[in-house]
Amino acid sequence: MMAYIVRRFLYAIPILIGVNILTFVLFFIVNTPDDMAYMHLGAKRVTPQAVENWKAEHGYDKPLLVNTQAEGIKCLTDTIFFNKSVRLFVFDFGTSESGRDISYDISQRMWPSLAIAIPVLLIGVLINISYAAIIVFFRATYIDFWSVVITVAMLSISTLFYIIGGQFLIGKLWHLVPISGYDTGFNGIKFLVLPVIVGVIGGIGGGTRWYRTLFLEEVNKDYARSGRAKGLSELRVLFRHVFPNALIPILTGIVAILPLLFMGSLLTESFFSVPGLGSYTLDAIQRQDFAIVRSMVFLGTFLYIIGLLLTDLSYTLVDPRVRLH
């Protein structure tokens, strides 16, 4: 088991290097630091001096890959590639274009993201599984048919509609909770209600439909049939035999996205002005803060790979047939 984990971590290294090279090419070779300086300083009539100053200020005034002027190991370390890309491997994100420490910002903004993402995940999964279970219990009836129609329709509605609609209905018309904002501690709960509700409702369509398929695949298998044949009630067949088996892919699917919860949701956080990592990324995109976007790409990739690893491990926990070596 341990050997497997270590090996998986080793596999992750080339992927992280690949992502790193990709972002490096995208951010520094397709567009040179000069281009970025012009973009940030705005007008076309910028003096070359101003460009040089901007580059020096942000540490872009070094050669890209090989510094021929430096000596020894500095030949490779005193470059943009080393300073901006290689350092990401030790989670040294550096400073943003506006001069703030990115690592500090991330550590601060992680918690609001989690405060929304975790309840959305838990409540959402609970509702989706229960709804799917009801549909499967009443399978091949009108309840099943209309539930499928409803879930397909809900699936077809843009996330933007759920957010805007929720804000308008609950926040503006009914004045139940504030439309947007954030606070720490217990004061924050009233701000969290709306984003969580919207997130849960937005996920019902896709989630329930997916779980229904998973349940239906199990419901007609031989073990379920023999359960019915020996006289178990349908409820008992479903809850004792079918659901535990169908829950395996559901649980492992959830485990895969657990690490990514840290990243938050771009849309929800920006609409509800929650100071999480999602809105942080979005702000960076809109301010064209390349340093932050680069860091978030790396962080996101890292978390994704952790998620994959956790999925494989969780299989061994819930499914005794799977052995990793």
Partner: protein
Amino acid sequence: MPVVLWTDALIYLLLAAALLGIFLSRRHPHLSAPFKHIVHSRVGVASGIILLAYAAIGFLDTLHFHPALEQSNAQGEAMVSQRILSVLDILTDSLRQHSEKTYSQPFAMYAYVKESSEMPDGRIVREYPRLKWGGAHLNDAQEKTADIIHKSIIGVVIGLLFSMLCSLLITGLLAWRKHRTLKQQLTKVWRNQTELPWRLILLLLSLLIVMASLSGYLSQFYHIMGTDKVGEDVFYQALKSIRTGLVIGTITTLIMLPGAIILGLMAGYFRGWIDDLVQYLYTTLNSIPGVLLIAAAVLMLDVYMTNNAELFDSVVQRADLRLLFLCVILGVTSWTGLCRLLRAETLKLREMEYIQASQAFGVNHFMILLRHLLPNVMHIVFITIVLDFSGLVLAEAVLSYINIGVDPSTNSWGNMINSARLELARVPVVWWSLSAALVFMFVLVLSANLFSDVVRDAFDPRMRKPS
């Protein structure tokens, strides 16, 4: 003078491929079987017709040209304008021309905000000014309701006449092909005894025609979905956005298709280091959160476009290139799924007897891939194309909202939502832009989702009944 933009060219290519596909599959019964399944399914036919209606509007909006100018130049040659219009622009000319100053509600006669105007006697009054076009033929507000009802009836009647004509024509053609009399065929259609669900098709077609004629007729006199901040007709914007949505949904898949197919087949067939390389490639790309990769790429495109503004002749071309680039980037993030599926399927197929037989006969690898493997994985490709479509249409709206989507000058549902959402804080609310975009998007995505279910059932061999 016709103009072919980059995305136009790709749409023509897509159409040509679709026509070729239909032509080929008509000759091979095993290929036409899934299509038969689709046209026999009621849901498939219904959603297919709605998708076709959208596609038709999108296609009209694809035929671009430089409009000719009235005057000719010194040599007496006809001049063309530098502007780029589409056939849809000509068909909806009145909608495009009828622009107001600013917001107005659907079917409004008066503008949405008060404005100071000078009376003949020199007094300044603040009131809601009359709209330039919306309800301009009316004398006072009392007539409006009666006028709208009157005009709607005219619109519906015209639509009904057209749809009856259409239905008769189609039934006539059917009768001619089946060697029945028109009356026999009509009864068969009416009692739903035809092989294909023609009653449903004709009803839906009639409904579409009636809706088109109703909205077309009313929009001559009113802004049926209101106007936006700069006074543009929202109905016109929503219609123009259809093309953007369709382009994102289809061209993205078209662009990523060759790469995904070639790499997936090669990885599965050759295995060894090619397999390792391809797997590494798609795992890496898949690891990057999609939105962030798109954001990074689009940011870079922005920088490039700002610094090389002289490369683009016109705003339309610039916007078009940006749309194409967005498709490419979305393709880069979405090809991995298809590639993985194809690799897995090829790994399975390469051990089959017929592949081993052709290897034993000395058929070269290229021919085996082309003749024996590719046709047998095509069902996966089809299912992916259709399944991806609705997700991509929805993604466009979200991306445009974060400003990493299409160019702000392109009409798209995302841009409509983006510009309208700030106005939700107004009292009373400006709701029409937002609702129009969401409804148009919802209908398209819903029919695409329903259609994709039918397509998946039709093409998935596991679902096929043993015959």
